[in-house]
């Protein structure tokens, strides 16, 4: 009778969650490349489309909202105001949606080979970021035309806004992506959230409308919404320097931003925990 030394053994299929990304970074890079490369297969203009579409969208805002309707609600450079909010929401919606679908889309792999499954939602968020970049470039070009100059606080605001969106869409994406494997209803809930996202943040209107319309506690809640925080950070970084300054930053811009970041971390932890619980059954439920 020999007693076996089990220290060299491991239980297959147990990873370290999102921390595994560092050991698997090469695969992550390939997954991201796969996600971005296959988007414009067999298209002549390829990535140019990624610039043409947001440029077109911005042009429509500028002409229709600004010139035809004169719909600016007292907001200077309303087209820029709109667009800087919309790119944030687009990033969120695409990252969140892709991450939710990522497990099902990679079902063949999940069923056959073990790898840390967190890689799929993470790759989905990075792919969404890659698609966000051309929109940001168009926005930046528009801002520069309208007299935008860089500032340290502006750049920090933009960076923090991006971190908030990335963390939020990853946390929610892991949560709903994991549930989606067993219960396809999750996808519909995600679509509802995506529909709501544009309206739940000051994209089409300014934060002052909300302040004047709802009780204080609801307004505080509204401002702590990570989407609101990220959109306001983008307004502060992109739109505000081009405006006449008549619409001030919301009170406690940075405090709200850090509260929002805290909320995102909570979502990340919950997302990861639920993901791990459901992950054990991915291969058989798919």
């Amino acid at each position: 009778m020999t007693t076996l030394d089990l220290s060299e053994f491991r239980t297959p299929g147990r990873g370290r969650g999102i921390l595994d990304v560092f050991t698997w970074r090469y695969l992550l890079r390939l997954l991201v490349r796969k996600g971005t490369q296959t988007r414009y297969r067999n298209s002549v203009l390829g990535w140019t489309w990624s610039y043409v579409k947001p440029a077109f969208q911005f042009g429509v805002f500028f002409v229709v909202m600004g010139l035809f309707l004169g719909l600016n609600r007292g907001v200077d450079n309303f087209a820029v105001y709109l667009f800087s909010g919309i790119v944030v929401i687009n990033f969120f919606n695409e990252g969140f949606g892709n991450a939710t679908r990522s497990i099902l889309e990679n079902g063949a792999l999940v069923q056959k080979i073990y790898l840390p499954r967190e890689l799929f939602p993470i790759a989905a968020i990075i792919v969404a970021f890659v698609h966000f970049v051309p929109q940001a470039v168009i926005l930046l070009v528009a801002c520069v035309f309208l007299g935008w100059t860089p500032s340290v606080s502006g750049v920090l605001a933009i960076a923090l806004g991006l971190v908030i969106i990335a963390a939020l869409s990853l946390g929610l994406g892991m949560l709903f992506g994991a549930i989606n494997v067993s219960f396809r209803d999750a996808q519909n809930v995600v679509e509802l959230i995506q529909m709501l996202s544009t309206w739940a943040a000051p994209v089409l209107y300014t934060w002052q409308f909300v302040r004047d319309a709802v009780p204080r506690w609801l307004f505080d809640l509204y401002m702590a919404n990570p989407l609101t925080a990220a959109v306001e950070l983008f307004h502060a970084g992109m739109w505000f320097p081009t405006s006449d300054g008549k619409i001030p930053h919301p009170e406690h811009l940075w405090t709200n931003a850090f509260i929002a970041l805290g909320i995102c971390v909570v979502f990340l932890v919950i997302g990861q925990m639920v993901f791990r619980r459901f992950e054990r059954r991915f291969a058989q439920e798919l």
Binding site: T11, L30, R41, K112, I113, Q284, E285
Partner: protein, 256 residues
């Protein structure tokens, strides 16, 4: 890793061959009907009859230990639970009862080209697949030429794999897997697609890997190939392990 396992083995083999896969009292259950929507699950729950209650025991108390350098065939008829067993070993699924422990790097080749993306070229797929099996870029670079040479598809390597024939597809997939840095190789029914010369080459390669001390678990319905490559067979019938021993009697036991 809560389990404390003790295992007895003949003292003479204990010196050269240490276990690399330990499967202990493993059972795996599947649900025959699943509720894919909250409503179904909820309605079932309200009515007091669990809609997902029909259970099916795909593996029932299976135990074996596979030592370093062994090539073992998992034998059994369709639906007996062989692929399920490989999935438990590779970590794709978790057992409901019992435990699976492995030692060393593991590469699972469960079905042809699971990680292949039809819109990518052969070359891109080689990199993607090797990375999926756990390799880093420099490791793949170092082996790239060997992988292509073994698969014999270099002429088509920059073509998208959706235009490959199924044999070419499988050649590339198999070639990637056996060139991985690995200690344990799990092969599920993939060799049957290749033509005769390539099958011979694969067998030779598997024997070579086995001599190098790699551990292999092979699922195949091709008895000639199993006879040639494996020394030991484990027979599973309807989820129960019915035989574990030398390959010839194992094949007889399966057919019995």
């Amino acid at each position: 890793m809560s389990q404390e396992t003790t295992s007895s083995m003949p003292s003479d083999t204990a010196v050269q061959a240490r276990p690399s896969i330990i499967v202990e009292h493993v059972s795996k259950q599947f649900l025959l009907r699943r509720a894919h929507a909250f409503k179904e699950a909820f309605v079932g729950w309200v009515r007091g009859k669990d809609v997902s209650s029909e259970k099916f025991l795909a593996l029932d108390d299976v135990s074996f230990t596979i030592h370093e350098g062994e090539s073992v065939a998992l034998l059994g008829f369709n639906g007996s639970g062989k692929s399920t067993m490989l999935k438990l070993i590779s970590g794709v699924m978790e057992p409901d009862r019992g435990s699976v422990l492995v030692r060393g790097r593991l590469a699972g080749l469960i079905e042809v080209g699971a990680g292949f993306h039809p819109d990518l070229t052969g070359r891109e797929n080689v990199y993607l697949n090797a990375a999926i099996l756990g390799m880093q870029k420099d490791e793949i670079d170092a082996r790239y030429d060997d992988i292509i040479a073994f698969s014999e598809v270099e002429r088509f390597i920059d073509q998208e794999v959706k235009h490959y024939s199924s044999g070419m597809f499988m050649r590339l997939a198999f070639s990637v897997a056996i060139h991985c840095e690995l200690d344990i190789l799990l092969v599920d029914e993939v060799l049957s697609v290749g033509d005769a010369p390539f099958q011979a080459k694969c067998r030779a390669k598997i024997e070579e890997l086995s001599r190098e001390g790699k551990t292999m678990v092979i699922v195949s319905h091709d008895q000639d190939m199993v006879r040639q490559v494996c020394d030991r067979g484990i027979v599973i019938r309807q989820g129960k392990q019915v035989y574990d021993g030398p390959i010839e009697p194992a094949i007889d036991a399966m057919m019995a």
